[in-house]
Symmetry: C2
Subunit: 377 residues, 2 copies
């Protein structure tokens, strides 16, 4: 067993646990910064260590296309390539095939696609993806799934569940035949917005048996209430003693709510994507740093934040950098935002430990506004 | 006296000295990373400290236009704005008016120009520039000069010398009337490629008397031999006990040569500009990291380098980052390059101290190729 459930909150469904991987233990719930191209945009592995991240997520689709598996193999794996000795999770690349590549053709065999970089043709099968992730050497790996879009009619959702289960079995079998690198293979639940299909998918995937379970097919365009409905529909069928990963979620308030539903793992590009657009997270909501009101603001992005950026640079200076087109501005706001997410999860774990998560959640959600704090600024 | 000459090399004209400023002492010769918009491109003041820089240069023209003097004044100066408690030198903005702005009109009064950012009209006079630099609060400040272009006919060069001297006198007078912030005002020598005009300008400027002397009108398109000729033509007329600053120079081999001519201060955007284009400096010359030969290269950019980048990341990884359009790649190569320049000056000072600068210079120039090491790669 790689997951140890330490505590379940008595007022919510929040959980505290320890996930043991080949590159160290992680306290759950945790957040995974997204490092698509073997780097979290604007940040190095040294930066991630400095801000206390124990894990980074990277994208199989991107790394497979560039630098390519021959390069990663030459390095001995992704850890060595990006100089990161902590935990790595890689996705299956399936989501990126659907969102980025051209001319994809899906069949039960797998998915054929054209690279968004050079138009070259490739085939991802469940077996191929296991091989790629084995070469990457990531500590937690996701199998190829058929991610239903939104909206999705019932027939298509049924097909997604059927194929995802078939591929999950093939992935597990292929994984068993690969060199043992101490990797943990997760299962992904589909089912779109259909309660019975979510249940069916969860029963099938947990029936096959994996080291952890992910709720997929969320963050694909559905509303936030529908996303939480999918969580509600899936959670009852997930075994207690395995980590639960909500894929691609989300904004800070969504994470705080989802922890209360029993989710253990999160990832999203939001902190860096918003950072590059000059939006900075604070405990009260996010601020758009380009707004004129910050021109002479001597305060840090977030007065409650202990990160390097907030300890050293003011809103007025950061606004100036972004206005002047300086990449340092994007880097510093991204740094703060990723730190904000990591610190948020630190505080969440502390609250669960102290038995005060329900209060934490209530206070956080009362203080936090999801709309930018200064749209009129 | 703010400058103390500690030693003059017995085989070359290299000098070792100490320059005392309001924000600390600097050993000469030294290199100044260029932070145009109150940031060295891609690097923060924390990065500069980490790599051991004692000084940064910033651009009056850029800061005056953006964020503007009202913002800098509100912060109490440039040190506070960019969170840098070490030395700052600011240029006069004259060079940028000529190279960046539109519709400039020069007269003895000053130079009228249109902002390259928003087309707004402005007037820089020698007095106005002193006021701006006083608000910036930089430790060393340059007066407005009339920088002769290249090529430059004799009449124009004479005019440049005449006006530069007139403006130098007005600058000194204006400077004396401003609040005392412990700033050191430098004089700038013009004269283009004319030996007698270089002598005339040097005699006039040193006659007025400043805290240091800069050779201007170089790095304006002339050949390297002509640049060294300008140094030769000027140096005999500069007093020994004042720092000598060669403006806007240069490539590593040019710096090593110019130190041997008695230059004490250097600045150039080369390390960051080349870094953003994926060129990395090594003791053998620069490498173009995008070249295919580095795809699987596990070595650091420079095997003799102790910087954070070379201690942690390989050529293959850096190539991947730049190829993937990741700003982290530009940042890391820029970091290495600025560190390379700073370390080069550390080594130069060490050699002068040890009395072995002539050997250092010979060895460096023998090992260093100015053309990229891998143009065919």
């Amino acid at each position: 067993m790689n997951f140890q459930l330490l505590k379940t909150d008595h007022k919510t469904k929040a959980r505290l646990g320890i996930l043991t991987t080949a590159h160290g233990k992680l306290e759950t719930p945790f957040f995974m910064p997204v490092g698509t191209n073997a780097t979290v945009k604007g940040l190095s592995s040294l930066d991630l260590k400095e801000m206390g991240s124990g894990i980074v997520l990277s994208n199989t689709y991107h790394l497979y296309l560039r630098p390519g598996m021959e390069v990663i193999k030459h390095y001995g794996g992704l850890h060595e390539f990006m100089n990161w000795d902590r935990v790595i999770l890689t996705d299956s690349g399936g989501y990126q095939v659907f969102s980025l590549s051209k001319l994809r053709k899906m069949s039960d065999q797998g998915v054929e696609f054209q690279s968004h970089i050079d138009g070259s043709r490739h085939l991802f099968t469940p077996e191929k993806v296991m091989e790629i992730e084995n070469v990457l050497g990531s500590d937690m790996i996701m199998p190829l799934d058929d991610c239903a879009p939104f909206p999705c009619d019932r027939e298509m959702a049924e097909e997604s569940v059927r194929r995802t289960t078939q591929w999950a079995m093939r992935s597990k079998e292929a994984f068993a035949g690969l060199p043992d690198r101490g990797q943990l293979l997760f299962g992904i639940i589909q089912g779109s917005t259909y309660a019975d299909l979510r249940e069916l998918s969860a029963r099938q995937i947990t029936g096959i048996g994996f080291s952890g379970y992910a709720i997929g097919g969320v963050s694909v365009g559905e509303s936030v209430p529908l996303m939480f409905t999918a969580i509600d529909q899936t959670m009852p069928y997930l075994p207690e003693n395995y980590p639960r990963y909500l894929m691609g979620i989300g904004l800070p308030d969504q994470i705080v709510r989802a922890v209360g539903e029993g989710i253990d793992m999160f990832d999203t590009v939001i902190p860096t994507r918003y950072g590059r657009h000059g939006s900075a997270f604070t405990r009260k909501g996010r601020i758009i740093i380009l707004n004129a009101e910050f021109t002479k603001d001597l305060r840090p992005l977030d007065e409650q934040c202990g990160c390097q950026v907030c300890q050293n640079f003011s809103r007025g200076y950061l606004r100036h950098l972004i206005k002047a087109g300086e990449i340092l501005g994007l880097r510093l706001v991204s740094y703060h935002n990723v730190h904000f997410y990591i610190q948020l999860l630190v505080d969440i774990r502390k609250a669960i430990k102290a038995g005060s998560f329900a209060e934490f959640q209530k206070d956080f959600l009362a203080a936090y506004r999801n709309e930018p704090l200064n749209t009129d600024g």
